[in-house]
Symmetry: C2
């Protein structure tokens, strides 16, 4: 089990390599929503997402011989970019297994950070089996996107900083994909703001953690259709789900429309780019479904990696 | 003349009402440009631009009787929104004179901050004559967008913060419209980083300060066609130009294409919205026309108020 001491140790380890991202606020939004909203801006993190925290924590815990052999992961999203860059900074070779139909932009971004990309044909193999085969053949250490104590501990440092910076909160909203950030955040919140309600938010189409939270057993939703590409993971892991069950107060799901609205409102008012997945945490408030009157509310903004042509589509219809 | 003591006094006066905006950096950009770049993010200022500094400084220096009677301005851009909000916060009525063909969005934003908007017909009167008439009839104090020591002093606080936060600089790039920000910035830079070159940047079509800087007399360019709407002012004022002549090292102009490129690069890498005018200061570097190797370079990002549908047009063509 991961406890707060893991997060403190991770924070000491990574703090000179990651940005202490700003916590932003808008007086106009506070007036509009009748609450105090604090936005932890991990879209401004190195590589554009919180994933750089866990990736850096993992890279820094490799043994000398593991560092020399290199690491492998099989995410095509923000974790791949984060791990590639952390490897580049610390001199560790990073191999990323991606399907050959992955977006050219993501392949390019990972290569741009010095990662070696190995493409596979979805019809012939799975990323897990190819990844395991390559890792064994080459002696690489697998760094998964969320199912690892190093990753959970690293991701938990964002909410640690948030509460250190603004003080205790009444409610905390966190985006949920595989549950690495949500589980880490929930541990930090329990320790530093014990009365804070921790709320995880998923897209409606990919609500596997909501379902698991209700049923008490790990459920999965395969290939959900949602613009929240960072939350398309089929399920949490045993590790992240056990932490979530223990620490999280409530799970919510929101429609994709609210995420598009979120990208607009963040751009108009906070003048920042947030990817659709990163809008999950603000969506229940924008959707008007939450009672937050008079509350101190933390919102974790997870990332800003979105194709500008995609945003242009969202925004051109007014 | 405005000197650094005015800026210090302004900073003391406004600092509990304005954001101390973050200074951001990108290690990847530092690698790409071979320099250390520091971005002072006034797009994250209250009302989305640095104009809130000068407006707040002006509102706070009114006498009790001036406060009761209210103020008037005749900008349709960021200064109008900033003054309207500063008036709303401090309980001072704000009247804004705008042409009746001003963009609906700008009229709405000013009204949204509680400003009273008075529209006029461009064919029948000028904003200055209508403004002067209204100010006299109603006993309002005119707060111009740049031609006033209170405004120059307030705008100078942004670069004061920048240098306080990151230390001395080798080069400082500042967007120039009427020269309020550039003149205030140049005074702060001369005081806090005496060896720093201060470079003002205008759009090619509206290069009145470049021309004035070369000729030594105040020149004007009427109704320039440029997407840098905050720099369409026909000329600097005697006040701002005299400060610029004394303190600014160099004036540059850049084509609009580089501003569009700027909006993209800011969005992709720093995950933030910058309006075209706010991209002026980064444009000479993006355009590759400057020698900044090994230098410590400050870049003032002035604002983020741009219609998202407009950005969508810029970004949809890849």
């Amino acid at each position: 089990m991961v406890d707060f001491s893991y997060i403190e140790a991770a924070h000491d380890r990574i703090s000179s390599f990651v940005h202490r991202t700003p916590v932003r606020a808008s007086r106009r939004w506070n007036e509009e929503f009748g609450a105090e909203l604090f936005f932890k801006c991990e879209n401004f993190q190195v590589t554009g997402s919180f994933k750089y925290r866990g990736a850096t924590n993992a890279i820094l815990q490799l043994t000398e011989s593991e560092r020399e052999r290199g690491v492998l992961t099989f995410s095509s999203g923000n974790h791949a970019q984060a791990l590639a860059r952390a490897g580049e900074v610390h001199g560790v070779a990073v191999t990323v297994v991606m399907p050959d139909d992955a977006p050219a932009l993501k392949i390019a971004a990972t290569k741009g950070y010095g990662g070696e990309v190995i493409l596979y044909d979805r019809d012939e193999t799975t990323r897990e089996s190819l990844g395991a085969k390559l890792a064994e053949e080459r002696g690489l250490t697998v760094i998964p996107p969320y199912d690892h104590p190093w990753i959970v501990a690293g991701q938990g440092t964002a909410v640690k900083e948030l509460i250190e910076d603004v003080g205790e909160l009444d409610q905390l909203y966190v985006c949920a994909g595989g549950g690495g950030l949500l589980s880490g955040s929930s541990i930090s919140a329990r320790e530093l703001s014990p009365n804070c309600a921790v709320i995880g938010v998923e897209p409606e189409a990919g609500d596997d953690i909501c379902r698991s939270f209700r049923s008490g057993t790990l459920e999965s939703v395969k290939d959900p259709v949602t613009i929240a590409d960072g939350a398309r993971t089929p399920s949490a892991s045993a590790l992240t789900f056990s932490i979530i069950r223990e620490n999280v107060s409530e799970m919510l799901s929101v429609p994709d429309d609210w995420l598009i609205k979120g990208t607009k409102r963040y751009a108009e008012t906070l003048k920042m780019i947030v990817e659709p997945t990163g809008c999950l945490s603000f969506a229940p408030i924008l959707g008007g479904t939450r009672d937050i009157q008079g509350q101190r509310v933390g919102i974790v903004v997870t990332g800003g990696n979105v194709d500008l042509a995609r945003l242009a589509e969202f925004w051109s219809h007014g």
